[in-house]
């Protein structure tokens, strides 16, 4: 036990003096989380947040066109900008990306509303607008136009029946009540936000990146003969492996604590959403331990499989990027083709990310995350076993 404590203390001393490794392990993921959470918050904007801006040019200037403008402006997720100017000037600004949409209400809109050939409202989208957002805004515009049409139609029918008050008796607001307000399943207080997605994703990425300093120090110690010397002192191989595994597990835990703190406290200070940690601290701790064990064991496997520091750096970088891409760290898995999604099921980063999302978004507890944690522990055990085998093989010459 004494030798193990000395090995752990040695690792601590070496890490403390390796500023490059500390920057890689702590600063890089912090920056990733901050940048990605703040940059992507528009995509994940929730109720009451302005996510989409649009300009509107009402060339009809009628009470009916004003109704349409008002209905669109009543949507909380849209914000109208009033720049003034003619259609060409507004088109230029939308083209430049100052707003995402331009709504053009043509002259004669009210007059032709009930005719067979109405003057149609035109929607213009900025070049960068994603198709899904275009569909969403278009649907909202159609809904607003439909309500205006319905209101005008009812009014006309009531007048034709000789009872103008009948139109007022119809409550168009009741249409909105037919479908309840959307709610996200699982997350109690709010909806998924950029920080909920990004903190676990980049945390896992950073935890697996521990392979770079770990494998490099392992390869250096092997090349410098320090491992040989330690073996000549009678230290068993398992102690040397454990002497690396335990300190780096602690580093992983420190990384997790820092990244979660960044999500909870720093991101909101900079204007983003705060990270909600879910309702099961036990499940969160289990996931952190499982990801950490998998990451450090995988790092030890790489360290024992490669021959040089250069190989270790390249192999670690490439394998981590591949696992991250397949695991949905960089691109959400649901946007991937079915084949890649299926392949992603074999990435330990997928298990880790889904486990964290179980805790953060789906209110998962120990029972819900246990299968993913078990997969990660199994992956870690296999990696560690194989690392031990390779280590032993090297000692046989």
């Amino acid at each position: 036990m004494g030798a193990l404590l000395h090995l752990i203390r040695k690792e601590w001393l070496l890490l403390r003096r390796d500023w490059h490794a500390l920057l890689l392990l702590f600063l890089m993921p912090t920056i990733f989380i901050l940048v990605m959470s703040l940059a992507m918050r528009g995509l994940f904007a929730s109720h009451g947040r302005v996510a989409v801006t649009y300009a509107l040019l009402d060339s009809d200037r009628s009470p009916v066109s004003a109704q349409l403008s008002a209905r669109l402006a009543a949507q909380p997720q849209f914000r109208a900008v009033d720049w003034g100017g003619d259609e060409a000037a507004l088109r230029a600004r939308v083209r430049a990306g100052d707003a995402q949409f331009l709504v053009l209400i043509p002259a004669g809109f009210a007059k032709g509303l009930l005719s067979r050939r109405p003057a149609a409202v035109q929607l213009v989208a900025a070049p960068s607008v994603e198709p899904t957002l275009l569909m969403l805004f278009n649907a909202s515009l159609r809904e607003a136009a439909a309500k205006v049409y319905l209101g005008v139609s009812l009014k006309g029918m009531a007048q034709a029946l000789g009872d103008p008050s009948a139109a007022g008796a119809m409550d168009l607001g009741a249409v909105d009540a037919l479908v309840a307000a959307p709610a996200s399943e699982g997350l109690g207080a709010g909806s998924p936000s950029a920080v909920q997605q990004n903190v676990p994703a980049w945390l896992i990425f950073a935890m697996f990146f521990i392979a770079i300093p770990l494998s490099n120090t392992w390869v250096q110690e092997r090349a410098q003969g320090t491992y040989g010397r330690l073996l000549s002192l009678g230290l068993p191989r398992w102690k040397l492996l454990l002497g690396k595994l335990l300190p780096y597990l602690c580093v992983n835990l420190a990384q997790a604590a820092l990244m979660l703190a960044v999500g909870v406290w720093l991101v909101p200070l900079l204007g983003g959403d705060a990270l909600a940690l879910g309702s099961s601290p036990g499940a969160l701790v289990l996931m952190v331990l499982a990801v950490s064990f998998a990451a450090v064991s995988f790092a030890l496997l790489i360290a024992n499989a490669v021959r040089s520091s250069e190989q270790a750096t390249i192999f670690t970088g490439v394998s981590n990027l591949l696992l991250a891409v397949l695991g949905g760290v960089m691109v959400p898995r649901f946007v991937m083709p079915a084949g890649l999604q299926a392949l992603g099921l074999f990435s330990p980063m997928t298990w880790g990310l889904e486990g964290f999302l179980d805790v953060f978004l789906r209110q998962g507890g120990l029972v819900q995350v246990a299968p993913r944690a078990l997969l990660l522990f199994a992956f870690g055990s296999l990696s560690l076993g194989f690392a031990a085998y390779l280590f032993k093989r090297r000692q046989r010459g």
Partner: protein, 249 residues
């Protein structure tokens, strides 16, 4: 002290064995110079004796103990000083010694006393707080040896301990090795510096291609020659006659 009998060892995927039926005897209390060209098997032999390399059946006895079954016991009274600077470059001289004393199992006052003794023996006191990678080549070599002295070994295996250092440091190390030997330690010393071995050692063994070519009392070998080495002028001449002049790349 060390008895090796018909020892064979081959690295995985190697075309030729590193040790091919090697037999040698290192007398107790001797300062044994182990000579051989690059790739002759010297370091492999020291690594096997010290447990850095393992093999299922080892025909090696150290102080009467069969290495296959008593490696831990042998490791407790022996020490390997590898050719590489096998310590932690980002730790100070003292931190390195404290660490290796700790993993050897020494603690408290005993560990502190052993570290002080090693620092004194290698004249490292003034450098104890220096980060090892910022030390001179001579200090690094002395630290490498000092680590090997922490268990006060009865058997010291020195693998080219004077490579790449200035004459002053070399002289200091050679004097230290003599002092260690004079205190009763059996020393196996490998080197490519023939004059060093001639000055230092009382017994030599010459290896090549994993086999022992010659072994015996140095003075006798120099005066009478050995095998195909006839009337050598000095140790280098004896070595070249035995191992021939062809380059070993």
């Amino acid at each position: 002290m060390i008895r090796v009998h018909q020892l064979k060892f081959r690295y995985p995927n190697a075309t030729a064995p590193a040790l091919d039926g090697l037999s040698l005897d290192v007398p107790r209390g001797s300062l044994y110079g182990l000579l051989g060209p690059n790739g002759s098997g010297k370091t492999t032999l020291l690594n096997l004796i010290s447990g850095v390399l393992r093999a299922p059946r080892l025909a090696i006895k150290v102080d009467g103990l069969d290495l296959s079954g008593h490696l831990a016991a042998v490791q407790s009274f022996s020490a390997l000083v590898p050719q590489d600077l096998a310590f932690y470059a980002r730790m100070t001289v003292q931190e390195n010694l404290d660490f290796f004393a700790g993993v050897r199992g020494y603690s408290g006052a005993d560990a502190a006393a052993r570290v002080e003794e090693a620092l004194r023996m290698a004249s490292l006191g003034p450098s104890r707080r220096q980060i090892a990678e910022r030390c001179s080549g001579g200090i690094k070599r002395r630290l490498n040896i000092a680590i090997g002295m922490l268990n006060r070994p009865r058997l010291l295996l020195l693998d080219e301990p004077t490579v790449g250092i200035d004459p002053q440091s070399r002289r200091f190390i050679l004097q230290s090795v003599k002092a260690i030997h004079a205190a009763g330690t059996t020393v196996v010393y490998t080197s490519h510096y023939m004059e060093e071995v001639q000055d230092l050692c009382d017994t030599v063994g010459v290896m090549d291609h994993g086999r022992l070519l010659a072994q015996g009392d140095l003075k006798k070998m120099l005066s009478h020659g050995h095998g195909k080495a006839k009337g050598p002028k000095d140790l280098e001449d004896l070595f070249l006659q035995l191992t021939e002049h062809a380059l070993r790349d």
